[in-house]
């Protein structure tokens, strides 16, 4: 240190790391902020020249466009804000249903891919390679413009067991609807499930500490059953009523109607994502060391125990992180529904831009919506992920 002080010319300033860092700091700040300020001034000038409004006040104005089959009450003339919420509900609906379906299909395909039967395994491979290598938009167009266009008109509806009626106007599902007294059953069932979960956790913890078998699984199942059955009788017989679609005039009434747009989007989105999920799940299961399975068998666990106690906990740890990104992809990909006229957030935003101008605030709104959806999903799943990643030594 001392020698450095006496000989200040030893390090010229352009090679002194401390000074260089400060210079880099200043230069990068100036460049980045300069760039930002430049764009913002340009923008303000353009906004001024075109008399653009940048506030979100338009959300309270009346929107002149209709939305076909809104999931919540909406009609043309309600506010833009309301229309946006309708779009948001549509996005959440298609992503929620899509995530569940893609996970189930993906897991089944992964198991088929791992099957010892050559034919089944090859079929799963064909499914995976087909969906992974064509663009989602092409898949969507095939489902919507090709498959759904060959569906018969209302009078000659396809009838599938269920009964499910399929025709040009959509897919009509038979749907259980709550009867007037049915709420008793639902409330009691929910109480039963909560109670069972609490008992399950307590008993399992007891077993962990005492080592005694506390039969936590059968006890909690019986608990749920008791509450459900008593709810069934208290609500006076069947709490649900099957709402079967029926032909009335030129259309079907009742049941649950899925529009062709929703069905096409749902099918292509969940099949496409399922192919990716299948690969994730297969990779996770195959990554479990074979010795683990052999050891578990040697200890005397049966097939089911090997799977649930040894394979799955280890596979899940590998599966969850890529699964999170698949779920996020699915949510973001739901914006492609715009191309077939299913009105989710992005489509509603686009109509709003066309009608009310104000591209910038609408885009801000759309981006904030997707960003918070992404953040929320990854936040929740990361908590779960952290819980199962416990065995880090």
């Amino acid at each position: 240190m001392a020698s450095q002080k006496t000989d200040t010319t030893a390090i010229p300033f352009y090679r002194d790391e401390r000074i260089l860092k400060i210079i880099a700091q200043i230069v990068s700040t100036v460049v980045i902020f300069g760039f930002l300020i430049w764009t913002v001034t340009n923008f303000l000038k353009a906004a001024d020249a075109r008399n653009m409004e940048l506030s979100f006040g338009f959300l309270k104005e009346a929107a002149g466009f209709p939305i076909s089959n809104p999931p919540i009450e909406y009609e043309a003339g309600m506010t833009y804000g309301r229309a946006f919420v309708v779009g948001l509900v549509n996005t959440l609906m298609i992503s929620g249903v899509g995530v569940v379906a893609a996970t189930i299909i993906g897991t089944l395909v992964a198991l088929a891919r791992l099957s010892s039967n050559w034919l089944l395994s090859r079929m799963a491979l064909v499914f995976i390679e087909f969906h992974r290598n064509i663009p989602l938009l092409v898949l969507l167009f095939i489902w919507y413009f090709v498959v759904f266009s060959f569906v018969p008109p209302v009078k000659e509806s396809l009838v599938w067991p269920g009964p499910i009626f399929i025709n040009k106007r959509g897919v009509y599902l038979t749907w259980p609807r709550l009867t007037e007294t049915g709420s008793t059953f639902v409330i009691l069932s929910i109480i039963g499930i909560i109670a069972a979960v609490i008992v399950f956790i307590i008993l399992r913890r007891r077993r962990k500490y005492t080592g005694k078998n506390t039969y936590y699984m059968p006890i909690s199942i019986v608990l749920v059953l008791i509450f459900c059955v008593s709810g069934w009788f208290l609500s006076g017989g069947s709490p649900f009523q099957l709402d079967i679609p029926f032909l009335k005039g030129f259309n079907y009434q009742g049941g649950l109607r899925l529009t062709p747009e929703f069905s096409g989007m749902f099918l292509s989105l969940s099949l496409y994502t399922a192919a990716f999920i299948a690969e994730v799940v297969r990779g996770g299961i195959q990554a479990v060391n074979k010795g683990q399975i052999e050891a578990a068998r040697a200890v005397g666990l049966n097939q089911l125990q090997v799977l649930s106690l040894v394979v799955m906990p280890q596979a899940l740890r590998i599966i969850i992180p890529p699964m999170i990104s698949q779920y996020l992809n699915l949510t973001k990909n739901s914006s492609l529904a715009l191309a077939i006229g299913f009105q989710e957030v992005f489509a509603v935003g686009k109509i709003t831009i066309n009608q009310a101008g104000r591209a910038v605030p609408v885009f801000g709104l759309i981006m904030i919506t997707y960003l918070s959806l992404s953040l929320l999903t990854s936040f929740i799943l990361n908590i779960y992920n952290r819980r199962i990643q416990f065995v880090v030594r």
């Binding site: 034919l119 989602l136 092409v138 914006s335």
Partner: protein, 405 residues
Amino acid sequence: MAIKEMEQDFIRPPQPPGPVKWIKDNLFSGFMNSILTVLLFPVIIYLLYQIFKWVLVGANWQAVSQFPMLFAVGQYPRDQIWRVGFIFSGLMFMLGISWGRWGGLLKSISLAAGSFLLLLAVLPVQHPQLDLTMRIYLGSTILLTLVGFLIGNKTRLKNTIIIAGWFVIPIIGIVLLAGFSGSEWLPAVQTTLWGGLLVTFLLAAGGIVLSFPLGVALAFGRRSDLPVVSGFSTVFIEVIRGVPLVTILFMFSIILALFLPVESRIDRLVRALMAVTVFSAAYSAENVRGGLQSVPLGQVEAAKALGMGNLKITVFIVLPQALRAVLPAIVGQFISLFKDTTLVVIIGINDFLGIGRSIINSDPEFVQMRTEVYIFMAVVYWIFSYLMSLASRRIESAMGIESNL
């Protein structure tokens, strides 16, 4: 005697399983398995039969076979089509050289492409767009590929020159395609006329080439000591990754103009390319960052001890190891970029998918053939992205990387 037999059994190498044993092992290994096979077999046969019947007899491929040029280049002026042909031949020549030098998958690709062109050249059908000039052009392109093969195989061309060629020819190609306004013999061609596979490949290749360096820069930016740089990179990456590509495409096609000086006008196709690039760069950045994190600190310290400068450490020590570790993820990102280029249809650019859709919508007769058109497009997309994933698997096994997925 028994011992001797056992010994022989032991010494003899295991026999390759015969077809009977293979069937027994893979199709009838157990009770459930046999039932499954018996149930699945007729289903598969039936499906295959139906598919073949439809493809060969039921389908009407007129909407596809009538417009090969439209699918390839869109509305590009037909009297200027030689420019596209010139680039295509140039790329085939480069493919030939690379085949001669490296072989492997490149050989299969060259042979497949060559035989496809040969088939077209000698196809005994009357087609307005398959006239004598076209056939001669196809034949000479095949010859050029073979010449390329000989050059690559027999001469000692440097690898760097071949790789440089792969970059130089597309750049010349883009200049050639765009032309110069006011030029007598090379008039400018508006990008609104470009279309088809040409645009799809342009967007995909351009996106890959431009997004990768940007992604590496962002990855370093995010790891930087400078708070402004790392903050900016982090926000940039996370915002782009948090929103769908459609949003970014619309941002660039509608809003970008507002943030630039009034007099500047950016071409529509370039804006789409920018959007695709920025989107892909954010994902590449995260992949590269994963790779950077996997390089042990000891490597950097050792390099420092040897007296290497920061730049040298990054270029020669850190990056090669980092990129090698995440190569599968990067290639996967490129494949999804290729598939994502289809989204430009939504902002009205006529890429391959867009051309197919406009053909269908151009004539009520073609609306009836939409199945054929969509299946054709799906097959084309499938072939190219499958080739890319095949190539990535070859590279991985050649480099000894195990891919997780």
